[in-house]
């Protein structure tokens, strides 16, 4: 796996992450389509994800939760807004309450995933659009391994200042 590019827009609050994998497009699509594979990588090892409902078709809602080290569950949902298998997937990724019911007090994050074949490898580009700093903060809180990586990011920021 090679990280090809990362673009961050601090005004628009977007992140574009592109990486290439040594597998064909159909195989990489499976890690998104198959909930058992998806839950092996969506959450960090300290907050593994469990998808209780998942289907990649327009209008379909996925439900998932992430379980923290102390057993705390953070619930979320996806609403699939566009699919063109195996190259395009768009969905809203939102927060839910402890019963899995969508929490409307905080907006959903918009995700666009594109897969393209390049020299037999697959380039996967994910574009995340955040609506607010609060939402970005909550997403980081849910997806982040504790400790080191965050501090490393801060060092980069200090150097950039």
């Amino acid at each position: 796996m090679t990280v090809i590019s990362v673009e961050k827009d601090t005004d628009a609050l977007t992140l574009t992450f592109a990486a290439e994998f040594a597998a064909d497009v159909n195989r990489v699509w499976q890690v998104w389509e198959d909930p058992r594979q998806l839950e092996r990588w969506w959450g960090p090892p300290t907050w593994p994800a469990t998808f209780t409902r998942h289907e990649l078709s327009v209008g379909s809602r996925s439900s998932y939760y992430m379980t923290g080290p102390d057993g705390t569950k953070a619930h979320g949902w996806w609403l699939v807004t566009a699919v063109d298998a195996p190259t395009l997937l768009e969905f809203d990724d939102g927060f839910a309450d402890e019963n899995g019911e969508p929490d409307d007090s905080i907006e959903a994050v918009t995700m666009t995933v594109t897969l393209e074949s390049i020299d037999g490898e697959t380039r996967m580009t994910t574009l995340t659009r955040f609506a607010s700093i609060e939402q970005l903060e909550k997403m980081v809180e849910m997806g982040m391994e504790e400790g080191m990586t965050l501090a490393m990011g801060q060092i980069d920021e200090v150097l950039a200042a």
Binding site: K8, R40, E146
Partner: protein, 116 residues
């Protein structure tokens, strides 16, 4: 975005402050919400005074602020001074970098299966 010019000695203090695992952990805990020193101390196998000292080092490095809230001292991140959005996006980038590594592990299993 507000950009601060940091002096060399300020940068040295920041690096020294973040060279310690406990202090890095404190910084990541207070990044999203303020914590009292008492609440922070519960996470570590060390005395309240020792945690207090770590917080002081972070304070001198301008990474956190400490203010009195009734009987408690509340520790807050000062990361907004060096670009809150940039820092959070940096953290979010790490989330994707780690996800990509985990996807790679899953894909690598196919190759192993083919070989066996």
């Amino acid at each position: 975005m507000v950009v601060y010019e940091l002096t060399d000695s300020e940068i040295d203090r920041i690096f020294q402050a973040l060279a310690d695992a406990t202090r890095r952990d404190i910084v990541s805990r207070v990044l999203t919400a303020g914590h009292s020193v008492t609440a922070l101390a519960e996470h570590y196998d060390m005395s309240f005074a020792a945690v207090q000292k770590h917080v002081q080092v972070l304070e001198r490095a301008l990474l956190v602020t400490k203010e009195r809230h009734g009987r408690e001292q509340l520790v807050n991140s000062r990361i907004d001074t060096i670009g809150r959005a940039a820092t959070l996006l940096q953290a979010y980038e790490q989330i994707w970098a780690q996800r990509a590594l985990r996807i790679d592990d899953i894909l690598a299993e196919d190759t192993l299966k083919e070989q066996s």
